[in-house]
Amino acid sequence: MAFVRTLDRLIGRIIDAGAWLALPLMFLLFLQWPLRDLFHGYSREANDLGQLIFALYVAMSVTAATRAGTHLAADLLAQRYTARARGRLKKAGILIGLLPWALFVLIGGRQIVMSSLAVLEGFPDTFNPGYFIIKLALWLMAILILAQIVVDLSRPEPAEPR
C-alpha cells in the first residue's frame, strides 16, 4: 500500500503543477491577437507554443477530473444504490471501459509517438520545433490514467452503513 500512496501523491503533484499551465496558455493565446494585428509577427510561434501547452494541460486534465470527481454523471437512480454497489459498479466500469482504452492508446500509439520522438518532429506548417511533445502528451495522458486506475482499484471497498 505504500507504493499506492506514493503513486497517489505523485499523480497529485503532477496535476497540481499542470493546473498552472492554464496561465501561460491564457497569456500565449491572448498574445496572438496583438502579435498578429499590431506587430505583424510571431503570432504563429505563440500559437505553436500554446498548442504544446494545451496538449500537456489536456493530458493531465482527464486524471484531474477523475480525482476531483467532476465527470458528468446522471445519478438520479444510482443515488439509491448502496455505497458498496456503487463502488463495485465503478470498479467494473474502470475494468471494462477505462483500462482497455488506456492500454490500447498506450500500445496502439507506440509507433506514432516513437517515430515522432526519434526525429524530434517539428510543426508541419511553421517548422517550429516541439511538435513531438503533442504526440508525447498522448502517452502522458494514458500513463496518468493507468496510474490513477491502479490507485482507484487498490482502494478498499466502502463499508456499508449499519
Binding site: 493546473a19 477530473a65 476531483a68 444510482a78
Partner: protein, 475 residues
C-alpha cells in the same frame, strides 16, 4: 452489423441512467464492447482500430478546442470576482423603479455573462449565488426566481461566443465537410464565425421575448424593488465590465478576433483585475486553477470517449445505416430536419448537451446536411434544440442543477408552472426559425450562402453519397 451500432447507442443511454457512472466511463465501456464485437465477428479488422491514437492526437492539437479550458477558467474567474454582482446591482439601479426590475436585470445578466461563463452549469451556479439571494430578499416567489435563473443560465448557449456554440461549430464543420465532399457542392464549409453570425438574430428575438416575460412575471408583485445605494467604485466596475464584455462579444461577432482569443483576452483581463484588486490571492488562484483543470478534464474526457465510440460506430457501418434512415424520411427538407431535431430532443432526456454534441451530432448531422443544403439554418436549429434540451422537464441539465443549488427550492410543480411561458416562447422561436430560414441569413454575403445541389439528389445518389468511412485510407 450496422444495427449493432444503434444497440450500442441505446446501451449508452441505459448505462448512463441505470449505473449512475460518469458518462465517460459508460462511453469507454460501450466503445470497448463494440470493438470486441466487431473484431470477433470479423467486421472490424484490428489494424483499423489503430486509427484511434491519430484521432486523439487531432483533438490534442485542435485550435478551437483550446477555447475549452479558457472558457472554464473565465467562468470561474467571473464567479470569484465581484463583476457579476456589480453588473446586477447596477442594472437594478439604472432600470425604472418597478417590481420587475430585479428579474429583468437577472435575465440580462445571464445574457451578458452566459457566453463568457464556460457552461450552463457554471452560469446556474454563478447566477444563483449573485441573483437568487437578492430576488428572495425582494419578495420574488421562489418558483419565479428559480425559473428566471434557470432560463437566464441557458442564454449563453445561443449568444456568441459560448462554449456550447464553439463545440457545436466544430462538430458542424466536420459534418458539413463530409456533406460537401459527398455531394460535390461548391460551397464554402461553414466555420465558427458563420454560426455565430447566423445565431445572432434568433438569439436577439429569444432574448427580447425572455426579457419581456421576465418583466411581465415581475408585474404581479405590487411592491417596487427597493434600491440599495451603489458605491461609485462599484458603478465604475460595472461600467468597465459592461463595455469590455460588449467589445469582446462584438469583436468576435464582427470577426476582429477569434473566439479562442476572445476567451483568452477576457480571462487575462479578469486575472489581472483580480490580482491587482487583491481578490485573487495565491491561495484563491491555486484553488481556482485546480477547479479549472478538473472541469476542463471532465469536458475533454467526454470528447475523447465520444471520439472513440464514434470511430467504432463508423467501423461497424452504423453511419451508413443512419444515412439510409435519414434518406428514407418522407417529405421535404423541413420534414427531415424536424425528425432529426426530434431525435436530438429525445436524446436530451438522457444525455446532456455536451454528450449530444460529441456523440449524436457527428452521426445524425452529416446525412442531414447531405439532404438539406442550408448548413447555417441546420446549425442554428440544432443550437435552439440544445438550448431547449437544457430546460426540458424533468431531467433538463439547467433544471437539475438549479434544483441542486437553490437554497430554498420551490415545489417542483410551481417551478414548472413558472417555467412554462419561457418554454412556450422557446419552442415558438424554434418553430419560427424552422419556418423562416432567412432569419439566419440576414446581412449575409449572398456568395457565401449554402446552395442547394444543382440537380435534385436521388435516393440512390444519397445512399452512395458518403465516402466509405470504414476504408483505411479515410483514417
Amino acid at each position: 452489423m450496422e444495427w449493432v451500432g444503434l444497440f450500442l447507442l441505446l446501451l449508452v443511454g441505459l448505462g448512463i441512467v441505470l449505473t449512475g457512472l460518469p458518462a465517460v466511463i459508460v462511453l469507454f465501456s460501450v466503445a470497448s464492447l463494440g470493438a470486441v464485437i466487431g473484431v470477433l465477428t470479423d467486421t472490424i479488422p484490428v489494424a483499423l482500430l489503430t486509427a484511434l491514437p491519430s484521432r486523439l492526437i487531432n483533438l490534442l492539437e485542435n485550435d478551437l478546442l483550446q477555447a475549452l479550458p479558457l472558457y472554464v477558467t473565465l467562468g470561474l474567474l467571473l464567479d470569484r470576482l465581484p463583476v457579476a454582482d456589480s453588473l446586477y446591482r447596477s442594472g437594478v439601479a439604472i432600470l425604472p423603479r418597478r417590481a420587475s426590475a430585479p428579474l429583468f436585470s437577472g435575465m440580462l445578466l445571464g445574457a451578458l455573462l452566459g457566453p463568457m461563463n464556460g457552461s450552463v452549469g457554471a452560469s446556474v451556479i454563478g447566477l444563483s449565488r449573485v441573483v437568487a439571494p437578492r430576488l428572495t430578499a425582494q419578495g420574488v416567489p421562489a418558483a419565479t426566481r428559480d425559473a428566471v435563473i434557470a432560463v437566464a443560465s441557458t442564454l449563453g448557449v445561443l449568444v456568441p461566443p459560448s462554449l456550447v456554440l464553439i463545440l457545436l461549430s466544430d462538430a458542424m464543420l466536420g459534418a458539413h465537410t463530409i456533406a460537401v465532399t459527398a455531394t460535390g457542392r461548391n460551397d464554402r464549409v461553414i466555420n465558427t464565425l458563420d454560426i455565430f453570425r447566423s445565431a445572432l438574430v434568433p438569439a436577439a428575438i429569444l432574448l427580447a421575448l425572455f426579457l419581456a416575460l421576465s418583466w411581465i412575471a415581475g408585474r404581479s408583485r405590487s411592491v417596487a424593488a427597493p434600491r440599495t445605494p451603489l458605491a461609485r467604485r462599484e458603478l465604475l466596475l460595472a461600467l468597465v465590465s459592461f463595455v469590455f464584455l460588449i467589445a469582446l462579444l462584438g469583436g468576435v461577432a464582427a470577426g476582429y478576433f477569434y473566439a479562442v482569443e476572445a476567451a483568452a483576452l477576457g480571462a487575462f483581463a479578469l486575472l489581472c483585475g483580480g490580482i491587482l484588486s487583491g481578490v485573487l490571492t495565491f491561495r484563491v488562484l491555486r484553488a481556482l486553477l485546480a477547479d479549472a483543470i478538473a472541469m476542463s478534464g471532465a469536458l475533454f474526457s467526454l470528447l475523447l470517449a465520444a471520439t472513440s465510440l464514434t470511430l467504432i460506430l463508423r467501423l461497424l457501418g452504423t453511419d451508413r445505416l443512419v444515412n439510409n434512415l435519414v434518406a428514407a424520411i418522407p417529405g421535404g427538407d423541413s420534414a427531415a430536419v424536424i425528425v432529426v431535431l426530434g431525435v436530438i430532443a429525445l436524446c436530451a432526456f438522457v444525455l446532456d448537451a455536451f454528450e449530444i454534441i460529441f456523440v449524436i451530432i457527428p452521426i445524425v448531422i452529416p446525412p442531414l446536411l447531405i439532404r438539406v443544403a442550408d448548413a447555417r439554418w441546420v446549425a442554428v436549429l440544432v443550437l435552439l434544440t440544445l438550448q431547449a434540451s437544457f430546460l426540458l422537464p424533468p431531467f433538463g441539465y439547467a433544471l437539475m442543477i438549479m434544483r441542486g443549488v437553490a437554497k430554498n427550492p420551490a415545489p417542483f410543480r410551481n417551478f414548472l408552472r413558472a417555467l412554462v411561458p419561457f418554454l412556450v416562447v422557446q419552442w415558438l422561436v424554434l418553430m419560427l426559425v424552422l419556418a423562416a430560414p432567412q432569419l439566419v441569413h440576414i446581412g449575409e454575403d449572398q456568395k457565401a450562402i449554402t446552395r442547394a445541389p444543382a440537380k435534385p439528389f436521388s435516393d440512390e445518389d444519397f445512399k452512395n453519397a458518403l465516402p466509405p468511412l470504414s476504408d483505411p485510407a479515410d483514417q
